[in-house]
Symmetry: C2
Subunit: 137 residues, 2 copies
């Protein structure tokens, strides 16, 4: 179990004031073994399940955006209408099942690239993501 102090430090170190709401959301997101895929909507449900005082949806959005900017989570490429996020910020890849709208991590070493193109002038590569879309056999 991640200590509250660790979470507070993580927040402080990225210039995020450690409010009750942020600490609670950070716990839900980061205090787990497996990496976690979520949308604003699903996080809202998770966080507000059996809670006395609820965190507003606006705060969920604000916090997700703040955590994304700070690099604690990353947004995943899909062609769903919702934004999907991942607590695994290391470069890795996904299966996407459009039927179930489910993402699954692909272990980094499961994809090996032999050749990638040079970025256009004045630009560098920020991220490289492989998405393998699935369908029924």
């Amino acid at each position: 179990m991640q200590q509250k102090k660790e979470i507070i430090n993580r927040l402080r170190s990225s210039n995020l004031r450690p409010t009750k709401q942020r600490i609670l959301i950070a716990k839900k997101l980061f205090d787990r073994k497996e990496t976690f895929h979520f949308t604003a909507e699903s996080l809202n449900k998770t966080v507000n399940k059996k809670m006395q005082r609820r965190i507003s949806l606006a705060t969920i959005y604000n916090t997700v955006e703040a955590f994304k900017k700070a690099g604690h989570i990353r947004e995943i490429l899909t062609n769903s209408s919702k934004s999907y996020y991942d607590t695994n910020i290391k470069s890795h890849h996904h299966f996407y099942d459009p039927d179930k709208k489910k993402l699954t991590d692909i272990d980094y070493q499961e994809v090996v690239l032999k050749k990638i193109p040079n970025p256009p002038k004045g630009k560098k590569i920020k991220d490289l993501e492989v998405v393998i879309s699935l369908q029924k056999k």
Copy 2:
């Protein structure tokens, strides 16, 4: 220049009645040398520029969906809030510039994969897409 007949045949062969609107949209999309990236909104602008009779936005959406289902266009993975489409239906990859919200094709042979994972049971791979996100150097 692609002949009107060709376009009509293409529509018919995918069970799409060749209406005035679909023919006009198909011309805009397919009667060009380079492949074309667009959103519903941008296509709407393109199609309705200096037109006497305009095509409604609903028809743009309907037609894009119909063309996508028929496999004449494909949807591109991004994390933009809009859906991006590509007239290049061959498997290929993209640079994405989040600043300009611009996609650029990457030639298929510019990306070489050495190893990809097996799909989960009961599923097969529908599509594999590499997106390289860019940032300023």
